[in-house]
Symmetry: C2
Subunit: 356 residues, 2 copies
Amino acid sequence: MAVAAGRTGRPTLAVVGATGAAGTVMLQILSHRADIWGEIRLIASPRSTGRKLAVRGEEVEVLALAEEVFDGVDVALFDVPDEIAERWAPIAAAKGAVVVDNSGAFRMDPEVPLVVPEVNPHALRVRPRGIVANPSCTTLCMIVALGALHAEYGLRELVASSYQAVSGAGRAGVDTLRRQISLVAGTELGTHPGDVRRAVGDDTGPFPEPVALNVVPWAGEARADGWSSEEMTVRDETRKVLGRPTLPVAVTCVRVPVVTAHSLTLHARFESEVTVAKAREILATAPGVVLFDDPGAGEFPTPADVVGTDPTWVGRVRRALDDPTALDFFVCGDNLRKGSALNTVQIAELVVGAKA
Amino acid sequence: MAVAAGRTGRPTLAVVGATGAAGTVMLQILSHRADIWGEIRLIASPRSTGRKLAVRGEEVEVLALAEEVFDGVDVALFDVPDEIAERWAPIAAAKGAVVVDNSGAFRMDPEVPLVVPEVNPHALRVRPRGIVANPSCTTLCMIVALGALHAEYGLRELVASSYQAVSGAGRAGVDTLRRQISLVAGTELGTHPGDVRRAVGDDTGPFPEPVALNVVPWAGEARADGWSSEEMTVRDETRKVLGRPTLPVAVTCVRVPVVTAHSLTLHARFESEVTVAKAREILATAPGVVLFDDPGAGEFPTPADVVGTDPTWVGRVRRALDDPTALDFFVCGDNLRKGSALNTVQIAELVVGAKA
């Protein structure tokens, strides 16, 4: 496509998976951030070829995924299933593009940096495969706040419990919750064993149990010794992003009937003694973090308030009563923005040297 | 009232607050458990005097709270606000009744035992004030499982996060969630900042924020250093019931859009090394506990399944990957049954020497 005159000489960005859930949010975010890109090329599976999508106020035609669409691309954002990423990211990289991949295919590859611009931007420099990975949404919703405290105090141990929104399971997750909410609205359901399950029937969508009027302590697939893949992912990614490969991390992932925005309770033990005053100062000034913490005045973040916003919101900051080196706090972030599309776009900006 | 012939000579039970939410569940539970009581006397505030309530298949007239209603009472179950309990429990005790109190008035009184029959039945023996306290619902929904593991391994530290049902805030909590669910059903709410709040308006009932399509990291009143009263209660009660007055406990209490049944994630560190096989054996055989734990086959407890049942349900049992002395697990229990009325009735049975 033609590039508007003022954009000549600027880097070319490709968005692979432009028609998907995260791709759609990427285009919204690209339309609102500093306009640093020359061409923005939209790529999807052949069945979407020819569709037009709006980005930066212009209609852009979607191209089918093929080797030649990467010609001249400087940075390619990938938001596609793991197996598509595994096949096509190396092809795009071989064509000279830096790939920023939002799938699970490369996150734990030792030759692929896993980057959160506010936490470990330096990791971006060494990318022998030409691929950079974006962490998963649950990690991203806590890691900016955790990273800021880690930079000051040195994290020694983490215990985390998640309150994960259904949109983490894609559009099918959202549709499932909305269908189930309609089935339970105006009823007395939720007071007898199995009554919600009977109302919902087998229609649990991507979840193993009903999610309306319920919480489901399971996300992902079964891994060794009773852990879920989601729990292992949060542990592995936290260690990799913070550069602490042996950090003790215990995570329990629980799905809750929230549409968008993941929350987590964190119990973080540090190398040295902490004070709430200093911790609050760190969080109040950390880029990408909003401290919203005055529970006596009703101030703490909830998903309903932070959905659609960019930062990691932090509240309920207090020192463990029995351990002067530990903090307990509550974090909340939009799993589709910082938890996915936004971090990918921030990495791309960092790759081409723009201010993240 | 007259006592049926077969019940002559059996102990007399009073239920104070018989018309309330927990009182109603107490009457249901008393109707289904072993019929060990002679008279069951129902007592409430004067405005309920003369109402008839069903217990053990009979209609029983409600008496107004007054000194003389405790004449001849062996055990009095109290489910009334703190200030009513503070005034009337000593009066009932002075009349010779053993009071089992479900308010917060006496839980931390060093002269009042805090009892969970499966965990510390021995504590019942020393009750100089003639009063026994029932723990709060959040503590009760985890403590039977935790106590069983503590008896074997010795608890050294606990990190807990709750997923608390709205009925923990009484009928107003349930009504609020149901109203809010009706307002969000069939809409696209939950995807823009504040859209749920705008739909709900100021109608947040007993909660500081909307609870439909949301989670609210706050329960109770503000205490020192950012902690909530509910979090301090769970900490204090856990220490008292387990007889470990200096146990390190870090709790974060979060309200979720579930009608009834509290859940908690627990990270429990013990005095010695644990194995999952042994922990599962302990939980599978502990009285009052059901182990439901095979996530690969879709087996873990959720509120929708355990509501209306008596036991503490446990799933997701696994050993911490970085600490051979720690277990991570998920517990779920009905906050109106074991979390309140059932434990009170069990204590009363223990007082008169019946099998709990």
